[in-house]
Each structure stands twice: as structure tokens, then as C-alpha cells.
Symmetry: C2
Amino acid sequence: MTDRRILLRRIPDGTPRPEDFEVAEAPPGPPLGPGQVRVRAEWLSLDPYVRALLSGRHFLRMPQPGEVLPAKAVARVVESRHATWRTGDRLVLETGLQSSAVSDAADAWRLHPGHVPASTALGILGMPGMTAYFGLLDVGQVRAGEVVLVSSAAGPVGSMVGQIAMLKGARAIGIAGSAEKCDWVRRVARFEACIDYRREDVDARLRELAPDGVHVFFDNTGGDLQHTVIGRRHLALGARVVLCGLVTQYNLKEAPPGPNLGVLMASRAKILPMVVYDYEHRREEFLREALAWHGAGRLAFKEDIVEGLEAAPAHFCRLMRGENFGKSLIRL
Amino acid sequence: MTDRRILLRRIPDGTPRPEDFEVAEAPPGPPLGPGQVRVRAEWLSLDPYVRALLSGRHFLRMPQPGEVLPAKAVARVVESRHATWRTGDRLVLETGLQSSAVSDAADAWRLHPGHVPASTALGILGMPGMTAYFGLLDVGQVRAGEVVLVSSAAGPVGSMVGQIAMLKGARAIGIAGSAEKCDWVRRVARFEACIDYRREDVDARLRELAPDGVHVFFDNTGGDLQHTVIGRRHLALGARVVLCGLVTQYNLKEAPPGPNLGVLMASRAKILPMVVYDYEHRREEFLREALAWHGAGRLAFKEDIVEGLEAAPAHFCRLMRGENFGKSLIRL
């Protein structure tokens, strides 16, 4: 089987189209240097932040045309000159969107043990789960009895935010982009409510659902929802806005203005950025608690899987149109 | 001498004009009820937040036409049925913009003792000073060696922010609106630098003065400066934006949009509101330290005084055009 990889053909203009990417045959990998491993991907993750990288507005490096797109993988070591990792080990690491990769494994961790599906290492037990966990508990400082509002509630970050909120005794209200997603958020993830922002008046619904305001607004989207929640005064006294994702603006050429900040004065609300990389040293703490919840059957999750690397460009474009439903994954 | 007071004639349309207000003869005050004092004002304070009240966007109550304008005073008790305050006591309290007032003195405190000018109780030792003190130290958490940037640097809050920053071992950079103000900020208040936003390119000057970014941005103005400092990426890693005043928008009918919040992610910067009323219970702590600094001659301050209540409307309008220089006061 030939190795394949997905290259960036050009920087997307607006919402990405499959022609912005290219499926290419990969040259044979180089011989391993000291400290390196060769891995073969089993699962590859598609994440919205990759579009932010392509906009040049993310703080991580902007990929250039001709380069392999960034992606995290669950991968098996097939050859090793690394001090820790052995052939046969299954790792979670950044490989790029390709079937095989050579890496110094600086960011790798061992796939969680046991009978938990491997794919969850890229979703509820991976970066999205950890983003939700530390974003809500450490940055957002949620307390029992508080109201947590989360956008992209059917996604891997949002669905975990609401479920962790409820596990900690808080109330969870979601916002999602279809009746089907909202239905899943309510019935399967068991949020108290979910607002369909494409068909409902978010401002009016929030006034009904959280008349005393929202204590933690976990913002995965920015844009109109941010203007509504912050600008229309839905923040409770002492609220925290966890600024986590800005998916509404990744496809835009210019970053649009934000809400007027004056409203923060009345509610004494803070705006706090959440950058998951800052929590890498606390991964064990997250995994311990998340694995226990998972083992007790208390974490619902939804995956949106396609087969084969060739399907990746179209799947990524669907993700960026908001047409995915659940964690976007490629099975190899 | 007849008692006089300043009434709101109508809600200003844009920048206030003297005709929006009215100097009126005050009716004789009512007999005192239990727990009340009658006070005679010696000094009255004009503050920009009063314009925010008139815009209806402040979290405190909006004054209505025909009512006395809000104002804090240094005033002497001339009659008392209050358990604590005696005739002859000098208090600092909310009286409204009038020469005499009846009050239950719920918010009153005793004028600081000693040889410190009484007017400073409305400036560096009053609400503006306390705003600077807790805003910088408690909300902004400034540390020695950090760079503090403050707008309205020649005003009572801004000039205290920079001076307290330096007293705590931090660096102070000001922004003000004239060469004369900038000169005072540098030479008298002894800031490291002061940018004249009307004549200099703030973005370019900040790149020179704080090439590694600003750690605390104490924002008294909002508007273009907020867009420049936050949006043009002048915040250092882990910066705190202390959101204190929005003087640029008090005269506007609609609150304008703020900067895009995405930039906070790269710098991990927080936006934190400062509401001085939340610190009322810590006034003694502030006064102890501020009086010691004042006693040691380490607090420069500038006052912009007019004589007589009749001068208040025009003086307030000057303040709202940014033409004042120093703490705006009326001596009765």
C-alpha cells in the first residue's frame, strides 16, 4: 500500500473547498534519526482550528501551499530509534494528515489503556475533551448551581463542556445549528436545553431559559452569538466568558469587530482566553477523571467518521460549513 | 445666601452643552428625619461617569429631566439627627450638584484628617484614587518590572495609575490628549513616557516604547485606543486589560463595537472590569497607603477648579470635550 498525504494546494478564499487541497502519494520516508519513530496512522483528526491556521490569524504557524496539513493521530509505532517508544506502541501525536510519518514524538502520549475506543483519544479523551475540562473548571471556575451556556454544543468540545458542567452540579444550556443536533444534545448528552440558532431567536430563548443570566459562557464560535450573549446582557453578575474558539470567523478575510466591552462593567464579567496547550502538563489529571466518567457511562459522545485519507478534504470542508455532526475523524 | 442646584433640563444629544442643564434656586430643605443630616457643600466633583449615566448605558440609574445631577461632595454637617455624624463634621458623600443637601449619609465617610487639602478627597484620595489603586493592584495584579499603559493619563485616575505603578516598581506609559498634558505627565507625574494621541501615531509609538508589549492596559477611554492596544497586538503574554472607563463613547447614541477578541488567545490576555463601588469595604486600606505616599510627597496631582455652582454646567461640558486638565472640581 502506497503512503498518501493531504497537501495544501492554496490558502482557501472563504469557506474551504476540496480543490484547495490535494491527495498526493507520499515519497518513502527518510531513514530514522536518533530519537525518532516511524508511525502508521489508524485515526486522524480534523479540527476547526486548522482553518484558523490557514487564515494566518492563529498564534501557531500558518501552513504554506505544498505542505502537509496539520493533524493529530492515533498511530502505531512501526519502527523506533526512540528511548521510550517501542515498535507496536500506540501513541497519540501530531503527524499531519498522512498515513505514515516520521516524528521525534516530542508531543506524543501513550494511547489510554483498556477497552475505551481508540478514536476517543482524538475527541472526548483528547484535545477537545481537555479543552472542555480545563476551560470550564480552571479558566471558567464553574460552581455547582451555576448556568453554563456553550456554543457548538453538539461538537466534541461543547458536548463535553455541558456534560462536565452537569457532573459538577451546574446547569447546561447548549446552542447548536440544527434540530437534529439540538435533539442529540438534549436527549443523549442530556443538557437541560439546546437552542437552534438557525431557527430560533437566541436572545429571546436565553431570556426564557436563563432569566437571571449565564454564569459561564463557553464561547466556541464568536460572531453573532458572542454579540448576542455579551452585548444583549445575558451575563450574570460575576460571569466568566471562556473565549475558546472563533469558528464563525475562521473563513473570513478580516476579523470582524467584537461586542462593545462596556456591558462587562454592569455584570462584572471577565473575558478569559482558553488555550489548551497551556494545560499539557496536567493531562494526567484530566485523563484520570475523564476515564472514570467514561467508565461509569456518563459521557455521551458522537463521532462523524469517514474512511480513507482521500475522503479528508471533503470531510474537512463539511466541517467548516458546520455540516458535520460530532467529532470529525478519518479511519485509515 | 440662597441655596442653588443644577438640574438636568434634557438628556444631551451628543457632547453635552450648557443649555442641557439649568441653575435653579433650591427650595428650603425639608425638616430632618431620624438618621439624617443636613450638609453644606464646600467642594463638588464633576466626573465623566455622569455622562455615562445620562446615556442610559451605565449600570446605575439614569437621571431624568428635572432632577438634580449626581455629584460627590466634601461637605460640612450643619444639622444632624444621625447617630454618628455631628454638626461641624466634614464628610465626603453623594449630595448631588447642589449647595445644600439632606442625606441619610449611608455612603458617607469622614474627611481625611491633617493638612492634606480637602479637595483631594474627591480626587487622588477619593473615588478616582481608589479606582486607580484597586484597579491596578487588585484587578490588574501589577508586578514589579511590568509595563503599565494608561489612557487619560493626565486625569485623576490615570495619573494615579501611573504613579502607583512606579511606586510598585513597574514602568508607566501614559496616553493623553495634548502636548501640555503629556508634558505634565512626564515632568510632574514622572511617567516614563506619554503619547499624545491627537498628534502621534499610538500604534507606532507603542511599538517603540513597549516592543515586548504591555502587561497591564488600564483603559479609561475605550474607542480607538482600545482597538489599537488590543487589536494591534500590543498586549504582552498574560496581559490584563483593566476595563475602567469608556469616555469615548459616553457621548454616543449607540455603543460602538469593540475589538475582535480573537487576539486575546495569542497573548492569553484577560479583560477584567473595574467597578470602584465593589471596593468600598477596603477604603481604609487604600487611604492608609495613599496618605503615606502623599505625606512623603510622592503623589503629584493636578486640579481644574472653578468657583461657584453656576459655573458647573460649562465646566462639565468642557470635561466631556476633553478640554479639562486635572480633576474637575467646583469650589463653593
